[in-house]
């Protein structure tokens, strides 16, 4: 019971974020006249298709134009192009919400579907794989490294890591990825330069898995390399602050073994702020993985952005991606919020 309220409050904030993003999407589409342009293009395409069909029955070009003009009117009313965009706004929002994301212009899903829903959703697991793997590895390195460094405050290693963490903020993740490709894939030919599987992909499950791992290695290393410095550093600082609290002194006075003091009286207490730190880092990880997917041609949603932006942009795909990314982000955030509420008894009652 006591868990329920704070969970609800925190989840509602994230749902709020989600709806605000949705609103921003729809408003931007409407205010800039972009949705009108998309609709007009859709109608134009439909008319072109119908023209070829009608050409079978109608020979007279004038009559053809008349029929088509009438048809255009019908379609414009049907799609709501005759009414201002804000009347269409709720319907657009609802469509996006129900994942009715329209059709792609030129992009296709792996099995050839042109439904945006198919194109985007089949890439969600790929993105999640990269994002969560690197996120979890970063978190683990951060916790282990951070709590170790907290015991070596002021040592050269401590100073090195804090310097490294500061430098990390100045390095574009994706550029590190490019350097890796340049050196490890192109020059030394140790690891594949991109994609998720070799061509042709291995069919046996085990070789297929190892093939995936070898392809995932560079993107994951890239993502971890740029984020683990700040992660270690912030966890070190959190741990150090907690190690100076009175209850830790008492735990030592109790004659508890040092390992137990570290685990239950420092790290366990540091867990909630560490999770908060991870939550702040998450937004950065999402951005990082979009760019790193692009660099490594990882068939996830981030790479899809790049492909959708290239050449003739695929508007529907871009709208859908932004929406699904937000959805994914909000879901991971809610998981972390739940974790936080479980880790920190203080929020369970004060909310």
């Amino acid at each position: 019971m006591s868990l329920f309220r704070p969970l609800l409050v925190r989840s509602l904030t994230m749902v709020g974020v989600f709806f605000v993003v949705l609103l921003m999407l729809v408003l931007t589409l409407g205010l800039t006249g972009f949705s009108d342009r998309i609709l007009a293009a859709t109608i134009g395409e439909q008319l072109r298709a119908e023209r070829t069909a009608l050409a079978e029955t109608i020979r007279d070009p004038d009559e053809m134009e008349k029929v088509l003009e009438k048809r255009r009117e019908e379609l414009e009313i049907f799609y709501g192009l005759r009414t201002p965009w804000y009347y269409r706004l709720p319907r657009t929002a609802l469509r996006v919400l129900t994942l009715d994301l329209g059709e792609a212009r030129s992009l296709r899903s792996f099995d050839g579907s042109n439904r945006v829903f198919d194109i985007v959703t089949e890439r969600v697991p790929n993105s999640m794989l990269l994002l969560t793997t690197s996120f979890v590895i970063t978190a683990i390195i951060g916790v282990i490294g951070g709590s170790y460094l907290a015991t070596r405050q002021g040592s050269w290693l401590d100073r090195f890591v804090s310097g490294f963490a500061a430098v990390s903020f100045a390095i574009p993740t994706w550029w590190i990825g490019i350097l890796f490709i340049l050196v490890l894939s192109i020059q030394l030919r140790i690891l594949p330069s991109g994609g998720m599987y070799s061509t042709p992909p291995p069919t046996e499950p085990l070789p297929r898995f190892f093939d995936l791992v070898s392809h995932a290695l560079l993107p994951v290393i890239t993502l971890v390399l740029v984020s683990f410095g700040p992660s270690i550093y912030s966890i070190r600082t959190i741990t150090l602050n907690i190690a100076q609290e009175d209850h830790v002194k008492i735990a030592r006075a109790k004659g508890l073994p040092e390992s137990r003091v570290r685990l239950r009286h420092i790290l366990r207490v540091a867990a909630p702020p560490i999770v908060t730190g991870l939550m702040f880092g998450l937004a950065g990880s999402v951005s990082g993985s979009i760019l790193v997917e692009t660099v490594f041609n990882w068939q996830g949603m981030g790479r899809l952005y790049y492909d959708a932006l290239a050449g003739t942009p695929d508007e529907n795909v871009i709208v859908a991606l932004t929406f699904i990314f937000t959805l994914m982000y909000v879901l991971i955030r809610i998981v972390l919020e739940v974790l936080y509420v479980f880790l920190d008894p203080r929020v369970r009652y004060t909310d």
Binding site: T13, M14, G16, V17, V20, V21, M24, L25, T28, L29, T32, F34, Q153, G154, A166, V167, F169, A170, I171, P172, W174, W175, I178, L179, I181, L182, I186, Q187, S193, A283, V286, S287, I290, L291, T294, V295, Y305, Y306, L309, A310, P313, E315, I318, V319, L321, T322, F325, T326, Y329, R333
Partner: protein, 478 residues
């Protein structure tokens, strides 16, 4: 702390000193660029292929030759306006230009190209001839061009190649191929067909047959001479400009990209742009973040709640997808990028400033001053703001690298402002055209290094300034 004292503390710390020196360097470079480069460099030069047409494509920097055992041919450009000599022939004056070319490389040039501009004649068009004199004494005419005659209804004097100069890529020019074919047949008794010569003209012109096989040529090093002659018909006829390019396999300080653009120039232009993006975006988002934070903490009540709700939500939004989306919708322009970065850049600061203001307001000193009858406003500006300012200043500095990195990332996705080249866009071009898979490191590494260096400058400055603004840090912990 006095300003001079603050500066001394800043300069004495390692990061502070590094940051200040790097920033000075960057500012100097930016000033140089602003003085030397046209402001519309992006449109008039960078994305204008005509400017770069005579450059070799995707070649490494010239200094890489010092690292290589076999030097690659450098890029040579010969230009002439006034003729070197004028001789009178029966048909009229002959203007000639002689360009000496010492060739020491074991590779042939990558291409040969000639450009004519501003040809002027009174009645009958001049004839342009180009010959190559080789170190072995052999000489051949590689190009012959009759300037276009008067059109119907046109009256003299006639101007040709004024707006668009005539540029001929000799390496693939049919007449040149035929000339080389004849030359090989006459001099070396080699009979090759056009397909064997086309595109590889340079190897034959700058080489001698090895005898191994018909088309096997070894480079011939030594002193060459390029002789350009223009046979005029009248006294006043002239060729305004002549330009002969011997394409190199290395170029300039930073090499070229696949369009032949001089990367050094692109990288230089990126300096003021990056500084501009970083400073303006950080300045605006800090200004908004600070004023909203102060308003929130100072006004309290409904305004506070509203500002907090909004900043909570904006702070929790996954920024990059929305940045991509909005830039895509409104179209890529540098101002738009800065505007959007600012829109998403303020909430963190607002939340922090608010809690600082709240904390300071309940501070005993401030309460005491208030109880002595100081107005809220006076308390705000005299007692709260001065305590926040140093912190805001540090945040301002830390905000710059974030903006620079974001712009680079967006440019890398293809959302950069096409009229203003940035380092991110150079990288994007290198990536999209496959430069990285071809190992064109000079196209990939320097722009990234520039981004890192600039972002690092601000990070170091920030680290150096932290102890200045935060006295607690001035002494390191025991």
């Amino acid at each position: 702390m006095s300003r001079a004292n603050a500066l001394r503390v800043l300069l004495r710390s390692g990061p502070g000193f590094g940051g200040v020196s790097l920033l000075c360097l960057l500012i100097l470079v930016a000033l140089y660029v602003l003085l030397v480069f046209p402001l519309d460099f992006g449109e008039s030069q960078w994305s204008n292929p005509v400017v770069w047409v005579d450059n070799p494509k995707a070649v490494p920097p010239a200094w890489t030759n010092t690292l290589r055992r076999e030097a690659r041919p450098p890029h040579r450009i010969f230009e002439g306006a006034e003729p070197h000599t004028v001789q009178m022939a029966r048909s009229g004056p002959v203007h000639s230009w002689r360009f000496p070319l010492t060739y020491a490389s074991s590779h042939p040039p990558t291409f040969l190209a000639v450009t004519l501009a501003d040809v002027k004649y009174e009645e009958r068009p001049p004839l342009v001839l180009i010959s190559l004199k080789r170190p072995d004494g052999k000489q051949l005419r590689i190009y012959r061009h009759a300037v276009r005659g008067p059109r119907e209804g046109e009256s003299g004097p006639f101007l040709r190649y004024g707006q668009t100069p005539l540029r001929v890529q000799l390496s693939t020019d049919e007449a040149t191929v035929t000339a080389v074919q004849n030359f090989l047949a006459d001099e070396f008794d080699l009979r090759l067909d056009g397909a064997q010569i086309g595109g590889r003209v340079d190897r034959f012109l700058f080489g001698v047959p090895t005898g191994d096989s018909e088309a096997a040529f070894a480079p011939l090093t030594g002193d060459y001479e390029i002789i350009v002659q223009a046979a005029m018909r009248e006294e006043g006829d002239s060729v305004g400009k002549i330009r002969f390019v011997v394409g190199g396999a290395v170029f300039g300080l930073m090499g070229t990209d696949s369009l032949g653009r001089d990367l050094a120039r692109g990288l230089l232009f990126g300096v003021p742009v990056a500084l501009f993006i970083g400073v303006i975006a950080a300045l605006l988002s800090t200004a908004i973040g600070t004023s909203l934070g102060i308003a929130s903490g100072y006004l309290g009540g409904r305004a506070d709640i509203t500002i907090q709700r909004i900043s909570d939500i904006v702070a929790n939004v996954p920024v990059l997808p929305l940045l991509i989306f909005m830039l895509f919708i409104v179209g890529p322009s540098l101002w738009m990028i800065i505007f959007i970065l600012v829109i998403f850049g303020w909430p963190g600061l607002t939340i922090q400033i608010r809690s600082m203001v709240l904390h300071l307001r309940t501070n005993q000193l401030v309460e005491a001053i208030q109880s002595l009858g100081a107005s809220r406003r006076r308390v705000m500006f005299r007692h709260i703001l001065p305590q926040i300012t140093p912190y805001v200043f540090a945040q301002l500095i830390f905000g710059a690298p974030a903006a620079i990195l974001s712009e680079a990332g967006l440019s890398f996705l293809g959302l950069g402002d096409p009229s203003i080249p940035t380092w991110g866009q150079i990288l994007e071009a290198g990536f999209r055209t496959g430069g990285i898979y071809l190992g064109y490191w000079w196209w990939i590494v320097p722009p990234g290094l520039c981004i890192v260096l600039t972002a690092l400058t601000f990070m170091l400055l920030g680290l150096g300034i932290e102890p200045v603004v935060n006295p607690r840090l001035r002494r390191s912990p025991p």
